[in-house]
Amino acid sequence: MDVGKSVIRVDAFDKATGRAKYCDDLCDKSALIARVLHATIGNGMVKSVDTTEAEKVEGVVKIVTCFDVPHYKFPTAGHPWSTDVHHQDVADRLLLTKRVRFYGDDIAAVVAENEVAAAQALRKIKVEYEQYPVVLDVQEAMQDGASQLHAEFKNNILAHTDIRMGDYEAASKEPGLIKVEGWYDTPTVQHCHIENHICYASMEAGRVVVYSSTQIPHIVRRVIGQALGISWGKVRVVKPYIGGGFGNKQDALYEPLCAYLTTIVGGRLVKLDCSREETFVCNRVRHAIRTHIISWLRPDGSFAARKIECFSNQGAYASHGHGICAKGMGAFPQIYPCPNIEGDAYTVFTNRPVAGAMRGYGVPQATFAHEAHIEDVCKVLGVDSLEFRRKHMMPVGYVDGFSKNENYADSLNQILDKGEKYLDYSRKHKEYAAQTGNIRRGVGVALHWYNTAVWPISLESSSCRMVLNQDGSIQVQTGETEIGQGCDTAFAQMAADAVGLRVENVHMVSAQDTDVTPFGTGSYASRQTYVGGFAIAQTGAILKEKILSYACEITRQMPALLDIVEGNIIRKTDGRVLLTVGDLATQALYSLEHSQHITAESTYQIKNNAYSFGCCFAEVEVDMALCKVKLVDMINVHDCGRLINPQLAEAQVHGGMSMGIGYGMSEELKFDPKTGRVLNDNLLDYKLSTFMDHPHLEAQFVENAEPTSPYGTKALGEPPACPGAPAIRNAILNATGVAIDVAPMTPHILFDKFKEAGLI
């Protein structure tokens, strides 16, 4: 059995040696180069575009402007399509736009023979604008009189949802309650995957073929069809290896425009390769969410009533929209249950870059607010914050009314036990409580839960195809995409176990091609391993049954008495090896009596979801005078069910912890208040944390097998990015007594807060 072993990644050698092909490696060097002209105002209308001088640049093939493109409005979110019109994503994008809604909006495109000609032409296009006032802040955008970004969304509110449990108003009036209130701000950050978004398109046999660095090839195919007004079968999308996505590529980005451009240059190959600056401004970002929480507590520490308000900054277009903020608020009632809860979540358009999916999908924002607030509650009550959490967090047996998720095991206590022990948290938390002097230490904790996949909000289905080769090895394809996270390896392990083969005889077809890959909605929502597992288990069983059925013809033994173990057909009654799967496959394919190409394909629709749990413990050292926080140690503990591949799981956690460090300490996009221009659209000024900013990252696990999964697994892709920032925040609180309620907690913020507190 290979599930549970740290099998070497199936793509390790190709990636380490540079043989693995990514989009730009595959694109023919004859490709025309497309570049986009981005608006240099934050809000307004394009009055005219003068391309006269640009057209004269040698090597320019075609220039299109917002006045030329077809008028098919399309949605971009990488959600499964909904056949219910009310649940479809908001279609508010055009290929190029006259109505500028953020600084960097797409208003024209140049296709040229080479990069230099394209860049020169871009600089020569003259644009006349009519400007409107820019609104960047959610609360300001909701005011009457604020600039309206989309006429159909009054006060710029894309969506508002609420939670009403019990009677908050009445419950909060209970005599003797203690009120704890806080506002918590999280920043606009970007995914910063290594490979910028890139795509190229050409026409073949009357169809548009697009290669793209995307997480969601099948969805991108649909969106291209919608944007160009052509039937979806006229589009073929191929996804080779990709250099990370983290949710940015869970959106249709420039594929529709690139597909359109090839159609206007006679089907010639056109490449659109985003710069890092464009990736920061013109792809997607994480929603900045401002959260307001009020807790009403009895003197014994129990919650009488709780209120939460979330204000999510959508930026200029709907993209994934309200799903993010709603998911974050949805985490609130469950992590510390309370009978009386009032919650309101607003997602609001502003003239900022478009916010979409990003690893954690609203939960990093929510966890920062929820866990900062819980720490504040404990401080007000004067109680041990770990004990308080243990007493009030989601109990064993808790069932969510909507998803039917059940907390089967005592996971939360078990992960807290491991983290507490590793960091010696409780002792240090007391010891560090009353320090003076310039260098101060602190420890902090944060915990969270996470849904696996998107059921029951959206479709969850997975498809798989297995093809048996002459030597008894198999090719495996799934609708779930390898985007660097390692799912191909996990799937190979699962498939090996499902059929009874050695993992080295499972060949994953990593590249996805909508012409040949079984349908799947792609890589997102921490769903790959969970969702893919169903289709692999089911398809593996079908393939195995076909192999054993053929084995019966050869061996004349009853199929029920046969099994496949490590590539051998064995008779279970005595364990005798009757023949190898390779011998069987060769016979089956070339038999003059009964030739059979043994394959299996199936789709499984998943109507389950699963609670995944995680926590982070962090230790910091604060240099008060320099307003600097140094991370000394950090541990994440997760219960993501049974580990399919422990080493890959650990790597997944390390990456998430790193993202949490940046989120908590350094990363944020900054905007010019007058124009909305992003000031730090590069990796120098955008402070992505580096290896030198990381302490040792400890990753540990609790393995309570998830009973709804054939492999006992559940979410691990996104959870590691969720609890880091609040754990750091709480550690700074422990060290200094100062609550920093704004992430990232940079020296700039600490300087202001320490001054306020009279500490410097």
């Binding site: 320099l626 307003c627 900054k670 120098l684 402070k687 580096t690 030198m692 020296p747 300087f751």
Partner: protein
């Protein structure tokens, strides 16, 4: 693909000067870690380049006949850091340039490029100012030497005249003898960053290590160009080694520096950090010189 109109490669200083005279509009390029970035951004698009990167005579660190430390302008940051002369006499410079960017940048980036770029945040600049480096420029009329404070004219502009290239940076013996210094780069990250503020201090102590005979301090990012803090130096020169001196030195810095408010950092924050860095750098320099505060 870079938008450049021509590339001329010089193999000697004389050839570089001749190319400069023949193509006065052309941009000099050494390691390229600044110039190519600017070209990519469109700032120098379409320019011709004169590459001096192949002139090996401009590489390396030596002691010249006047006992100056001579650093060839093309010497890379990583070579400066590992050079035994630097380590022996002005180790702080090696430490400072070891904080530039990341390893790849430090292998390609040169000290000449770092200074000719004329930016206030250059990691070498505050230490070179604090050690009163001399810039050597070679042009059609021969060699010109000037103090580094005069080389910097304003942000992004240095005194590089028609036909000239910078060929070396010199540290005079009177500057480095018995002198010990420390540099702190204050940045938002521990690598791959530019300084929010950089502070370089060096001292010469009396034989008994009780008195500060000479102290020099310079900042990057405390004004439009790297700058000394003369008031602070005056306050501490000739004073006893003590916390009182250290604090007076730090506080006096505010009379000299003029950081600005920008989206990268607020003025008040930069001032606060500048004072703190001055004190810490002075304490560490005194320790390196064998004293104790």
């Amino acid at each position: 693909m870079y938008d450049l109109s021509a590339l001329y490669e010089a193999s000697s200083v004389a050839e570089a000067v001749a190319l400069r005279v023949a193509h006065p509009e052309a941009q000099i390029i050494a390691g390229g870690s600044d110039v190519l970035v600017q070209m990519r951004e469109g700032k120098r698009a379409g320019k011709a380049l004169i590459s001096i990167y192949g002139i090996d005579a401009m590489r390396g660190v030596s002691i010249d006949e006047d006992e100056n430390i001579r650093i060839g302008s093309l010497t890379s940051f990583s070579h400066i850091t590992k050079d035994p002369i630097i380590q022996k006499y002005i180790n702080v410079l090696g430490e400072a340039v070891d904080m530039v960017g990341g390893p790849q940048i430090r292998n390609i980036g040169t000290i000449g490029g770092n200074t000719c770029n004329g930016v206030t945040s250059a990691d070498s600049a505050s230490t070179l100012h604090a050690w009163e480096a001399i810039v050597e420029l070679t042009g059609p009329n021969g060699v010109r030497r000037l103090p580094i404070k005069d080389f910097y004219i304003k942000a992004g502009t240095v005194d590089l005249q028609d036909g000239e290239i910078q060929t070396a940076i010199l540290i005079p013996k009177s500057s480095y003898e018995n002198c010990f210094g420390h540099y702190i780069k204050y940045a938002m990250r521990n690598a791959m960053d530019i300084a929010t503020t950089g502070c370089s201090v060096n001292v010469v102590l009396s034989a008994d290590k009780k008195t500060i005979e000479r102290v020099r301090i310079a900042y990057g990012v405390a004004g439009p160009v790297p700058m000394r803090a003369p008031s602070a130096e005056a306050v501490a020169t000739g004073k006893s080694v003590s916390m009182e001196t250290v604090n007076a030195f730090g506080d006096a810095v505010l009379e000299d520096i003029n950081p600005r408010d920008s989206w990268r950092a607020a003025k008040a924050f930069r001032q606060h950090i500048a004072v703190e860095l001055a004190k810490r750098c002075l304490i560490r320099s005194i320790e390196l010189a064998g004293g104790a505060v």
